[in-house]
């Protein structure tokens, strides 16, 4: 463990403008510390990527941000308010799209689930469903069942359902991890365009370091056992990002080296 050699970043207390704030958050499950004192804020409209070696609690941190877990120490705040349960302003895109979609509902039906839940009258739903499906490039597939779709299409569908919530925050848990490289790059760009158009805040967990740099305004590296913040990088790459130009940018390569070194040292 070359951990002391790393610059350990301890964030200052949450400023008032933070949309999501982790205030000295700790999580102990079954006597085992999973997350130890993470302090972190995410500003509105920011894209924050979280990386780390397996077992560093990045998915757990995301679930804390979603309100699916409650911290055993400290607090998670959304717009200054302590999170006690999931909220509709915060949508979660799960990695396992195959499990997160309702297999007995068509693409349109799956999007409809979110609209029904927010209480949209059925007369308005059809138009909104068509609009959302078109937004994620599934315009011609409304009547298909998830099992009739490819992995990339299913993940698009899940994103459409999340957008139906009209969220202020999108929490994404390795959403493209199970997809092939080409599909993944396509979806990365689509996601950036969608987020730019909605202005949503994004917390994006990934194990793909290049993906983290490519997407993020900021990348946070977590250290494992127990999970804590080990590195924070601000990504000053021009937007809109480009799969070739951005990835060849000297700054990209510098950040990539820094992130790889960090992960290597933390393992």
């Amino acid at each position: 463990m070359a951990e002391p050699a790393l610059a350990l970043v301890q964030s200052s207390p949450a400023p008032a403008h933070a949309q999501i704030a982790f205030d000295k958050v700790a999580l102990v499950l079954g006597g085992k510390a999973i997350i130890d004192t993470i302090s972190l804020e995410v500003a509105a409209g920011e894209i924050l990527c979280v990386v780390g070696a397996s077992g560093c609690g990045k998915t757990t941190a995301l679930r804390l941000a979603a309100g699916l877990y409650q911290p055993t120490g400290g607090a998670v705040r959304f717009e200054g308010e302590v999170m006690r349960a999931p909220r509709r302003e915060i949508a979660v895109v799960f990695q396992d799209y195959g499990k997160a979609l309702l297999p007995w509902r068509t693409a349109a039906g799956n999007v409809s689930l979110a609209l029904e839940t927010i209480g949209m009258p059925s007369a308005q739903r059809a138009a909104r469903i068509a609009e959302l499906l078109a937004k994620v490039g599934l315009a011609g597939h409304a009547a298909k069942y998830p099992t009739e779709m490819s992995g990339g299409m299913q993940q698009r569908l899940q994103i459409a359902r999340c957008l139906a919530q009209d969220p202020k925050v999108l929490l994404m848990d390795e959403p493209f991890g199970a997809l092939d490289a080409m599909t993944r790059q396509g979806l990365q760009d689509e996601m950036l365009a969608l987020v730019a158009s909605t202005g949503a805040t994004v917390v994006f967990v990934t194990h793909d370091l290049e993906e983290a740099i490519y997407l993020g305004d900021r990348v946070v590296g977590l250290l494992p056992h127990p999970g804590r913040v080990g590195l924070e990088l601000t990504i000053d790459l021009p937007r809109p990002r480009d799969q070739l130009a951005t990835r060849e940018h000297p700054e990209f390569l510098r950040l990539r080296r820094a992130l790889f070194d960090f992960i290597k040292a933390s393992e």
Binding site: V92, L113, T117, K144
Partner: protein, 255 residues
């Protein structure tokens, strides 16, 4: 694809016709005394006579009514109880031993208890049929509710779905294949028990018709009744299958 389906359907009819032909042959050759085995011609004639001039229709509706009421009662109870038990782990742990004790109990052993409690009447039949056909549905529903993908419950939490919405939009559709499989099994059980109860309690129905025909050595009537029971079983199973494939269209997409 379509042609092979038609070909197989035709082949299955040929087999059925062959069995009837053999039956006719055995009866014509008097391999078995006509007192015990009427030919299909005599059984068919008796069936028609039963409907036109006899009370076979009343018997038929009697059996169908017993079967339907018992089965519906069991469905409602089985799905409601199963949903309750299946959606709570604590409930499953508490109730499972009791269920395991009751489930393998032969329903025929319950009949005397039911007769003692209700007497020889419709209530007794309803209780026995419902009790017997409860199990496949109860166990199917418990399993279906217990096997709901946990991720879907998280999706429901993130969406702030109400408890009722979670049951009707997530748990029930997810458990539907198991529930429908249970309902299909129960349908057969309900028919068997309807006949048994009619025989024992002398209730208006095909069970009673078959028993009385046998006792009076009216073998053609007996076979007409048996044939009718077979047809009921076949048609209800077909209807159930059609309902299943309609409700579970999404599963066909998976294959």
């Amino acid at each position: 694809m379509r042609w092979s389906v038609i070909a197989w359907r035709c082949a299955s009819f040929v087999v059925a016709a062959g069995v009837i032909a053999l039956w006719q042959l055995a009866a014509d050759r008097r391999l078995i005394s006509p007192v015990f085995l009427p030919g299909p011609d005599r059984a068919w004639a008796s069936l028609l006579r039963g409907f036109t001039s006899g009370d076979l229709l009343t018997k038929l509706t009697g059996t169908l009514t017993h079967m339907a009421y018992g089965w519906l009662l069991a469905s409602v109870a089985g799905i409601a109880l199963g949903a309750m038990i299946g959606s709570s782990k604590a409930m499953r742990i508490y109730v499972a031993p009791t269920l395991e004790l009751l489930r393998p109990l032969p329903v025929s052993a319950i009949i005397p208890v039911a007769i003692a409690a209700f007497g020889l009447n419709q209530s007794m039949a309803l209780f026995v049929i419902a009790f017997g056909s409860l199990w496949p549905m109860l166990l199917g529903t418990i399993h279906g509710f217990a096997a709901v993908e946990p991720r879907l419950y998280e999706v429901a939490r993130v969406l702030h779905m109400s408890r009722l919405a979670v049951i009707f939009k997530i748990a029930l559709p997810s458990a539907a294949p198991d529930i429908l499989a249970g309902m299909r099994l129960s349908l057969t059980v309900a028919l068997i028990l309807a006949v048994v109860c009619e025989m024992l309690a002398g209730l208006d129905g095909l069970g009673q018709w078959v028993l009385l025909s046998a006792r009076a050595f009216r073998s053609a009537d007996l076979f007409a009744g048996v044939m009718l029971l077979g047809i009921i079983g076949y048609i209800t199973a077909l209807a159930m299958g059609a309902a299943e494939s309609r409700l579970l269209r999404w599963q066909a997409a998976r294959r």
